[in-house]
């Protein structure tokens, strides 16, 4: 479990990093963030980049700021820093709650928000959060800067819209009102979840105005539970609506099974956790009013 040889550079600016990636494209250059996913892959020799561009010294990527109503998190913000940041608690409590489920504190101390989203593990929490919150991903490459909507960002297991030579620099979370919740089922604490559910629910008097729900672990990419969202919108915030929404969402799921859970078990768990997630978000939405 030792990596094959590689070269290493630690630039101090995004521009420099992009240049290095371009210059060493033939060596299969890769960006290194917290290393909590990439380094194990290299130790297993499942990834064999010849050149690593470490983003760890780029100051500008480590900031958490606000831009009007939008919360902006630099790609290199450590997961534990985001988890405990007051701005995150205030503006995207869903993100803070989800971060508490990512691995263990020592992993979160190194792992980054951008790294998790760029890595795009179908079982990971943050991609589902980005999807539920309609986040925007800012990507910089030789051709300049572009912004990708979360809905277009996750293209397959461990595959995103980031092109070779590009770097994810920021994750932008637009302001969302209502109740937010993240719930997940993992076999042991800190392990990857079998199913995760990120929910944002806004109520308007006696009805549910809008629901955004994303799930991890049930498909090759995080998915929006569109059928549940549509069922909930405009309906009463009661058990019957929730049941109907859950049924509608589960009907559309076809997760694949593995050693930790068959497709059937994952579906059972998804049904349970969808309900728990929606209930919790709804309770919080009602508490806020």
């Amino acid at each position: 479990m030792k990596p094959p040889p590689f070269q290493y550079a630690a630039p101090t600016s995004v521009a420099e990093a992009v240049e290095l990636l371009a210059a060493h494209a033939d060596d299969d250059a890769r960006t290194l963030a917290g290393g909590q996913s990439l380094v194990p892959l290299m130790n297993f020799r499942l990834a064999q980049p010849g050149y690593l561009v470490d983003l760890g010294r780029i100051e500008e990527l480590t900031r958490i700021r606000t831009d009007g109503d939008t919360l902006v998190i630099g790609a290199m913000v450590r997961q534990s820093d985001a988890e405990h940041a007051p701005e995150v608690a205030l503006r995207a409590p869903l993100l803070a709650e989800a971060l508490g489920y990512v691995a263990h504190p020592p992993v979160r101390n190194s792992g980054t928000v951008g790294g998790s989203i760029a890595h795009a593990d179908p079982a990971a929490e943050l991609p589902a959060v980005a999807l539920a919150l309609d986040a925007e991903l800012v990507v910089v490459g030789p051709q300049g800067t572009r912004t990708v909507r979360a809905a277009d960002f996750f293209v397959g297991p461990f595959a995103t819209a980031i092109e070779a030579g590009e770097i994810l620099t920021e994750v932008r979370f637009p302001r969302r009102d209502g109740g937010q919740s993240f719930v997940e089922f993992a076999r042991t604490h800190g392990n990857f979840a079998l199913v995760g559910v990120a929910s944002v629910i806004e109520t308007d008097g006696a009805t549910i105005a809008r629901a955004s729900i994303a799930m991890s672990g049930v498909a090759p990419v995080p998915v929006r539970a569109t059928a549940a969202e549509e069922t909930l919108a405009g309906s009463a915030p009661d058990d019957a609506s929730i049941r109907a929404a859950v049924d509608a969402a589960v009907a559309g799921l076809s997760p694949s099974g593995d050693a930790h859970g068959s497709a059937e078990t994952r579906t059972d768990i998804a049904r349970s956790y969808l309900r728990r997630g929606i209930e919790l978000a709804l309770t919080r939405a009602q508490d806020r009013r």
Binding site: M1, F185, H260, E264, T265, D268
Partner: protein
């Protein structure tokens, strides 16, 4: 055999009552070095000129090795040697193997001709660093011709199954049925016969440091020195010399702290042989240290993997008459310890219950998996689980209270010989049960359970009462055969005590590289008890095999009892000499002296006294002050043989005494099952153990916590999953789930002390008890939570998948009604 013709038991001892050090929770004497990072593990060792080895592993479960091309690997930077399995077979003989027929299921350090499981080694590279060695592994080209794999143990025994070892002609490495007592009568007379089919899947001990060795072969002297974290079997590791084809007196194996074993480093010889072979080839020291994937796929120490078909003969009033056990065990591709794991089961096969007969059929299946070795419990924990599920099922079928049913069957007179011939030396099962009922707040939880059920919540209470055998005797590996290949060993353990010229005491241990079982603390407390010194002042050192006395080391919860016997014996020799010296110095008759507070004095005349230091300095330096026949110095050793072993009967209807010091425990977990997800969480957990007289209550409690945590792993999380093609799906901790502090509840622990009549102070072993109890208790608890829904789980670990499948099946059965 009737009781009258049993060999005599050892004399019943009287135990010292006013103990000073034995029984106290002193700080462990090992802690400072480990907590400061000064333990000195294999990974910490550097030897000048040391090279590193890495092993190429088979990606196939079963394949012919048609060819290996190492040319490119040999030419890679920093590479000193590449040795293929074929070459290794010329350099070394097969590994030491206690299996039934080693000539037909031959086990070598690297595979020759064909691979038999995913992870089996096919070649080894020696290079300047482990990095370069692994780079070179990637350049070795192996041509495999895949063969169909056999993964299921019952399927392996069917006709036409692919053969793991062609020479064996079948995948059944061992089969035999034993009858103990009048099985036919007990079953014919039974009111009810409870039957079940149970499945225990394989897991294993997960050490922090994997198995490794640093070997240094000196071509000038022909001597091989190996530092390894195996058990430093001074008694058995000489067999490595046989494998290496060197004289045993040229081999020195030095113990290195195990860094965790839980059994999984018991007699681990393969890494030592690989390192030794490589060192001899390149003429430089070589380190071979398994990485995590090496260890998980190829440690040769996977745990039990059993299918059971069981029948329990029970009377209407709850009296259990007998048990009929038919088990198929999946041993994997080799079978290094034979079916000794079933000897362990037979040591306490009837649990704490007064049954009169046992039928035991065992079939050992070979499959395309890594082989079994040892894992805390060594197969007895599986028997405990099986028996407690059966007893629990009997209670349900007879509609009896599960606690009362157990109590009704308790053995109450000791020593008690169980039908297999093993003895239970002492015990008080009622007292342990009473304590556990109180500690666990059993009654309160039954009320909580009823309340919760009204709310639709599923709480279960899993009370089990089971045995905790200790101090194994090698006959359990031996009585399987009518004509065993060798006589049986007594599994000795040795200690040397040296009193230096200042009266300071050093104890030398021969086989106890730190396994987590605190041998140094045990010896320090025992020596302090004998000599009235502070245990923290006793110096403890280890000796390598070359200058070692016979010693077996930890395993089968034997260390403390065996070390105690050796300490007692060595102390007696030293005190005899010291007494004679003191009598001479005091010009008194030895009979008029007594040992008081660390010295000898004339009875009733405390001022006429010589302390141990007074005596020691005279004996070390002033020999001429003593009679001619007295030698200088004050040092002696004791080789302590197993204190209570008797031979099996020729027809094997009685296996003799082989696990005599019988502990007992009662575990009471309270769990809640989430029906929707099939997950299990703990609301409470209480454990009461009786391991005889306690040496150090806190270190024993540590064993109970750690063992219970592992038992929770076995019950709910841990499994080496092989798919239908024999691929190992759980070869790292990403997939092989270990419970962490988050999954393990706070335990309430209490001890009960029923001394053994046969050991020093009445000590029994207690190293494995947590894991012997927890899987059984948790399974009972889960079934207790779900019984009202018609769900009964019969397979471990109880994963969400298995539990949801059982719940779904019960739901659809109810739907059909």
């Amino acid at each position: 055999m009737t009781t009258t013709d049993r060999p005599a038991a050892p004399p019943v001892r009287t135990h010292k009552e006013d103990r000073t050090w034995v029984g106290r929770s002193i700080r462990r004497v090992e802690d400072p070095k480990f907590l400061r990072g000064r333990g000195g593990y294999i990974g910490d060792m550097t030897v000048p000129g040391m090279l590193y080895a890495a092993v190429l592993r088979s990606p196939h479960a079963h394949a012919v090795i048609a060819g290996i091309d190492v040319v490119e690997a040999l030419a890679a930077p920093g590479v000193h040697a590449v040795i293929t399995g074929e070459q290794a077979a010329e350099l070394c003989d097969p590994l030491p193997d206690f299996g039934p027929n080693p000539a037909a299921h031959t086990w070598r350090c690297l595979a020759v001709d064909k691979v038999r499981y995913v992870g089996e080694g096919v070649a080894v590279v020696v290079a300047d660093s482990r990095y370069l060695a692994e780079d070179a592994l990637a350049l070795i080209e192996v041509e495999y011709e895949p063969l169909p794999a056999v993964v299921d143990p019952e399927r392996a025994l069917e006709d036409g199954a692919p053969l793991v070892h062609d020479d064996l002609g079948s995948n059944c490495a061992y089969e035999r049925t034993f009858d103990f007592g009048d099985v036919e009568r007990d079953f014919a007379e039974a009111d009810v016969i409870v039957t079940d089919r149970l499945r225990w899947h394989r897991s294993g001990g997960q050490p922090l440091e994997t198995v490794g060795a640093v070997a240094d072969f000196d071509h000038a002297t022909g001597a091989l020195t190996v530092h390894t974290n195996s058990l430093s079997f001074t008694s058995y590791l000489f067999m490595v010399a046989g494998t290496m084809k060197i004289p045993a007196n040229k081999l020195d194996i030095r113990p290195v702290p195990a860094g965790g074993s839980f059994g999984s480093k018991l007699f681990a010889t393969k890494p030592a042989v690989i390192a030794g072979m490589c060192s001899r080839q390149v003429g430089r020291p070589v380190q071979y240290l398994e990485d995590r994937v090496d260890n998980m796929s190829n440690c040769d120490h996977h745990g039990s993997d059993r299918v059971y078909d069981v029948r329990l003969a029970v009377m209407r009033d709850g009296t259990i008459r007998g048990v009929d056990i038919d088990t198929v065990e999946d041993y994997g591709a080799y079978i290094q310890f034979g079916v000794g794991h079933h000897g362990n089961a037979l040591a306490q096969v009837v649990g704490p219950y007064a049954m009169t007969s046992v039928r035991y059929r065992v079939r050992a299946a070979l499959t395309n998996k890594n082989q079994q070795g040892a894992y805390r419990g060594f197969g007895s924990e599986v028997n405990n689980w099986m028996l407690e599920q059966m007893v629990d099922k009997a209670a349900r079928e007879l509609d009896l209270d599960p606690v009362e049913l157990r109590r009704r069957n308790f053995i109450r007179e000791f020593p008690h010989f169980i039908p297999t011939g093993n003895v239970y030396d002492s015990g008080d099962y009622d007292a342990v049960l009473d304590k556990a009922l109180e500690l666990s707040e059993y009654k309160r939880w039954r009320i909580e359970q009823a309340k919760a059920r009204e709310e639709g919540r599923c709480i279960g209470i899993g009370l089990i009462t089971a045995q905790e055998r200790s101090v194994f005797s090698a006959t359990e590996f031996w009585f399987w055969f009518d004509e065993p290949g060798a006589p049986v060993t007594s599994m000795p353990e040795s200690v040397t005590l040296k009193v230096d010229a200042t009266g300071g005491i050093t104890a030398t241990l021969y086989s106890c590289a730190f396994w987590g079982n605190s041998p140094e603390t045990m010896v320090a407390q025992l020596v302090a008890e004998e000599f009235d010194c502070d245990p923290h002042d006793v110096s403890i050192v280890y000796q390598g095999s070359k200058n070692g006395l016979p010693a077996t080391g930890p395993g089968g919860s034997r260390t403390t009892v065996m070390l105690a016997g050796a300490v007692e014996g060595a102390t007696a020799k030293i005190k005899a000499k010291a007494l004679r010296a003191a009598a001479h110095l005091l010009e008194a008759n030895p009979d008029d002296l007594e040992w008081v507070d660390g010295g000898y004095q004339v009875k009733g005349v405390p001022e006429q006294r010589k302390s141990l230091a007074d005596i020691a300095v005279m004996l070390h330096l002033f020999k001429h002050s003593f009679p001619e026949d007295m030698e200088s110095g004050l040092e002696d050793s004791k080789v302590f043989d197993h204190p209570y072993t008797t031979m099996p009967s020729a027809d094997r209807t009685d296996l003799g005494v082989f696990y005599p010091f019988m502990g007992h425990a009662c575990h009471v977990p309270v769990v809640e099952v989430d029906l929707e997800t099939g997950s299990v969480s703990f609301l409470a957990y209480a454990a009461v153990h009786d391991c005889g007289t306690l040496v150090n209550p806190r270190s024993l409690a540590g064993h109970i916590v750690g063992g219970t945590a592992q038992g929770i792993g076995t019950a709910l999380y841990e499994e080496f999953v092989y798919d239908d093609d024999g691929q190992l799906l759980t070869s790292s901790f990403l997939d092989y789930l270990i419970p962490s502090a988050m999954e393990v509840p706070e335990l309430r622990i209490a001890h009960h002390e029923t001394p053994s009549p046969y050991t020093l102070h009445g000590i029994k072993g207690g190293g494995e008890g947590g894991r012997m109890m927890a899987p059984a208790a948790i399974n009972v608890a889960v079934n207790d939570a779900l019984a009202h829904l018609g769900v009964r789980v019969t397979e471990l670990p109880i994963t969400p998948d298995r539990l949801r499948a059982a719940i779904r099946a019960a739901e659809s059965a109810r739907g059909r009604e």
